[in-house]
């Protein structure tokens, strides 16, 4: 059973990102002005303040940058930063895993988790 999550409240600023997520595609914003990707999504590039940003579908692969398991939570879970193939590092959960076997640097792949009352969200599993 998936852990119960607080539902996200998509902002108007990020409507296109969330529409893609609902359709099963994780978008990573990339600035056409400076060429850099960023995370989390926003209207102005956090590297150069340009508003000329395109959403690029993520390849769905990444590696664990760091993680922590919460064994005493009512529903134990694992939080992590995952560095995506696109170069940005994303806060997420690692699911369907043995937390004792997780390692920094380990390859993971994208999965989607349904959330009651909100859009589905991106999580990762060992590749």
């Amino acid at each position: 059973m998936a852990r119960k999550m607080f539902p996200s409240v998509p902002s108007a600023e990020n409507a296109a990102f969330w529409a893609a997520a609902e359709a099963g595609t994780l978008m990573v914003p990339k600035c056409k002005s400076c060429g850099k990707s960023h995370w989390y999504p926003r209207a102005l590039c956090p590297h150069c303040f340009s508003d000329d940003i395109e959403l690029i579908p993520s390849k769905g692969t990444g590696t664990i940058y760091s993680w922590s398991h919460m064994p005493r939570a009512p529903e134990p879970y694992t939080i992590a930063y995952v560095t995506l193939a696109e170069g940005v590092t994303v806060l997420t959960n690692i699911v369907d895993c043995d937390p004792k076997a997780l390692k920094i640097g380990q390859a993971v792949k994208l999965a989607w988790q349904k959330v009651e009352g909100g859009p589905q969200v991106w999580v990762y599993t060992p590749a």
Partner: protein
């Protein structure tokens, strides 16, 4: 223009309570204010500046100023950067005093997380959807515990730091707390006690985490003229720095904190260097918080924090850098889940020679206090303060 030598800390008071179900938060703020005024030898009507942070009930400083009926206020500030707020409040007070905008500034902190039963570091809370990161993060249940734990995990990966080395930080704090009659945890603990305590957020154990306590503290900052007219030892502000750090647009790097920049500013302004510091108050929400700050402030080389602490360097009378001689947040007190003001208070005690005799650092003439507020692993504030006994 610098604040060096422009302001003195003349009042410092830590509320003795650690559990206050019968008091209000506003009352705790006011009791701390009264305690700091008495310590300084000043009265309420001397106060013309007031600073608080988000723990103070009301709109910024307005409601507390009215509650205490401070009628001469001409400078106010409510910068809230979590537990680090009160360190930069001292710097902001010093700036106002240097500019002649205030002459006696009161800073208060108080809260009752223990009485209110907050599982502060482990219970996920729904975020404010207007905060821009909430919609992308709250679903993953980043709580204080795992937000710091990911920093520890990365430090272990990068530098081979061990849980046993982190445990030495708690061991040192407990050695100091045994002499503090007000400390929540007074038992001396061993490395084994720490690493065998329940795992809260891998790799952090329960004893890697600070206490949850009710209480508060207050400080009085004033001009050189007023400070020299009082009967208290002179504790001069000689340098300060503040810096935020976040996720850098997705270029997350957990191997350093905002202390790199806040520390550099404070070293530059004060003209002193890490080797000059006789005592340090280092924010200890978790053991890893201390380790990161020791490296970021330059007390040891990057990656060498584990060795530095496991050599006993933090224990007063034993090591090179006695820290948190009140027992710190790890053992003594973490009022309102914000440890910044107690960091300044214990540094003032050390500089005055008023710390417990068993932990008082001999000839303590220069001290540093540092705070890390918010969440080290996502976005946080850092504030560094350097003080000198005159």
């Amino acid at each position: 223009m610098s604040i060096k030598g422009k302001a003195y800390i003349v009042g410092a008071y830590e509320h003795p309570t650690r559990k206050a179900p019968d008091k209000s938060v506003a009352q705790l703020h006011a009791e701390c204010a009264a305690g700091a005024l008495k310590d300084a030898g000043l009265t309420k009507d001397d106060i013309d500046g007031y600073i608080c942070a988000g723990d103070a009930p009301g709109m910024g400083p307005i409601n507390m100023i009215d509650y205490m009926n401070l009628t001469k206020i001409r400078f106010m500030d409510s910068t809230d950067v979590g537990g680090s707020s009160y360190l930069l409040h001292v710097a902001h007070a010093a700036q106002a005093i240097a500019l002649g905008r205030a002459s006696v500034v009161l800073i208060t902190l108080a809260g009752r997380p223990r009485s209110e039963g907050q599982a502060t570091g482990t219970a996920p809370r729904a975020g404010n959807p207007l905060v821009p990161d909430t919609q992308f993060e709250q679903q993953y249940a980043a709580v204080t515990g795992n937000g710091y734990a990911m920093v520890a995990a990365r430090h272990m990966y990068e530098y081979g730091t061990t849980s046993e080395q982190l445990a030495w930080i708690k061991v040192a704090a407990s050695h100091h707390a045994q002499y503090n009659e007000h400390a929540m945890l007074r038992d001396v603990v061993t490395v084994e006690d720490v690493v065998n305590s329940p795992m809260v957020a891998t790799p952090l154990h329960r004893l890697d985490c600070c206490v949850i306590s009710d209480g508060g503290g207050a400080l009085i900052v004033t001009s050189p003229e007023i400070a020299k007219s009082l009967k208290r030892p002179l504790v001069k502000v000689i340098g300060a720095g503040e810096s935020p750090k976040g996720q850098l647009g997705g270029m997350v790097d957990l191997t350093y904190s905002g202390a790199v920049r806040s520390g550099a500013a404070a070293w530059a302004e004060s003209g002193v260097k890490p080797a000059d510091i006789k005592y340090a108050s280092i924010y200890d929400s978790f053991t890893i918080t201390v380790l990161m700050q020791l490296e970021d402030l330059g007390f040891c080389a990057r990656g060498q924090g584990g060795k530095f602490v496991s050599d006993g360097n933090l224990i007063s009378g034993v090591g090179k850098l006695p820290f948190n001689t009140d027992g710190g947040g790890l053992c003594n007190n973490h009022p309102a889940n914000r440890g910044g003001i107690t960091k300044v208070i214990e540094a003032v005690r050390q500089l005055r020679g008023e710390a417990h005799p068993k932990v008082q650092v001999p000839n303590c003439d220069i001290a540093l206090a540092h705070g890390t507020g918010g969440m080290l692993g996502t976005r946080h504030g850092s504030a560094t303060l350097i003080m000198e006994r005159e």
